[in-house]
């Protein structure tokens, strides 16, 4: 097919040149996209924070606290919210690998007393049309304004009070688990204990 002879030297040289060009162009594209990539990620985070927290005036992303937890692989992210220097609540990133297709990452906003303000879905790979319905208002509203002190967050099949999604019990269960984990971390957080 190609006219060039396959000698050892020209094979090595050809591959070297190709990888060199490929490497250089990838580095170049990486430089261009680095900024927008970080910006897109931050924007998503801020949008989720605005959704789950009471009104705040500080920058929760700057005040982030990382807490080690035995339940999660990475440390748990906590975003405290202040309004005029008064602590109004904290958003906690709860995650679990027990979703139908692995990782589910949620952001849960707690008010001072531990009541859930709102829940936002950050990452998920659930089955489209089944598990993805956990993003729907109908499902998430079950968690809103609930305090886990008095509310059993488990799905009804497990003796709790949450209506599982049709055909996606595993997803619903994992969702509740992630919320529970975030709540446990919230209870432990210094912010809340200082307030008491």
């Amino acid at each position: 097919m190609s006219k060039k002879e396959s000698s050892f030297i020209n094979m090595v040289v050809t591959l070297l040149i190709i990888t060199l060009i490929a490497g250089l162009s990838l580095g170049f594209v990486n430089d261009i996209t680095k900024g927008p990539k970080a910006k897109a990620k931050l924007e998503r985070k801020i949008k989720a924070l605005k959704m789950v927290l009471p009104e705040f005036t500080n920058n929760p992303v700057a005040d982030i606290k990382l807490v080690k937890s035995e339940k999660a692989k990475d440390s748990v992210e906590m975003y405290p919210a202040y309004s005029e220097k008064n602590w109004v609540g904290t958003a906690v990133v709860g995650s679990t690998y027990k979703g139908f297709s692995g990782l589910i990452k949620l952001m849960i906003g707690f008010k001072q007393d531990g009541t859930i303000q709102n829940v936002a879905v950050l990452e998920q790979k659930e089955t489209p049309g089944l598990g993805t319905k956990m993003k729907d208002e109908k499902f998430i509203s079950q968690y809103r304004d609930k305090n886990l002190e008095s509310f059993n967050i488990k799905v009804k099949k497990d003796g709790g009070e949450i209506d599982a999604l049709t055909g996606a019990t595993i997803t619903s269960r994992a969702f509740s688990e992630a919320v529970q984990m975030a709540y446990d971390e919230f209870l432990k957080s210094e912010m809340r204990n200082a307030e008491r």
Partner: protein, 200 residues
């Protein structure tokens, strides 16, 4: 070496006579994996089209410089570079689509459609024919994936491009958005497609 080919034929063959999905059954992994909705199918198709076009262009340009014993590794590096570029650009500018396609973007590298065209076509033909070939094959792939995604979404979720046309709680064929539904839908679509296109 280069035989003159009818460019119109060259373009059409990718869409009908040698349609990569329905006739050649190439690139089954992304085909079956991401087509749970019409939008995902379209997104995956367009990403693949871009990689296919760019790799065909480059392979056709450098074909006479590459010793034939290392041509496959060379093609893979070229393809992998373009896939990585697509991945970075998607993540930066279309994060929504990036999240939806997830693991399937890096897997474009091993999509045999792309390597197949590089090996069987672009490394033997001139630049112009290779571009036409990539466009034809790529558009055939986009159409097939979108059609498959649309079929599965309509049957499985009662919607098309996220627009729902059945009641909120209506029962749909959930099977079709689950993995087995991909095989069933593909088989029926391929059968119908071949019935109308293959002349005996």
């Amino acid at each position: 070496m280069i035989t003159t080919i009818d460019q119109k034929q060259n373009f059409i063959k990718g869409i009908i006579k040698e349609n990569p999905v329905f006739v050649m059954l190439l690139g089954m992994c992304p085909t079956l994996g991401v087509t749970s909705s019409a939008f995902n199918g379209l997104g995956m198709g367009v990403a693949t089209l871009f990689v296919l076009l760019m790799s065909n262009i480059v392979v056709s340009l450098v074909k006479s410089q590459i010793p034939s014993k290392v041509r496959i590794p060379a093609f893979i590096i070229i393809i992998a570079s373009f896939v990585t570029i697509v991945e970075m650009v998607l993540e930066a500018f279309i994060p929504f689509l990036y999240e939806q396609l997830g693991i399937f973007i890096p897997l474009i590298v091993v999509n045999c459609l792309i390597l197949g065209r590089a090996e069987a076509f672009a490394s033997k033909q001139n630049l112009y024919s290779s571009i036409i070939d990539a466009l034809g094959m790529g558009i055939g792939f986009v159409l097939a994936l979108t059609l498959l995604g649309a079929t599965r979404e309509i049957l499985g979720n009662g919607s098309l491009f996220e627009l729902k046309f059945v009641a909120e709680n209506a029962n749909t064929f959930i099977l079709f958005i689950l993995p087995p539904g991909a095989f069933i839908a593909l088989a029926y679509l391929a059968a119908v497609f071949n019935k109308f296109t293959i002349k005996t």
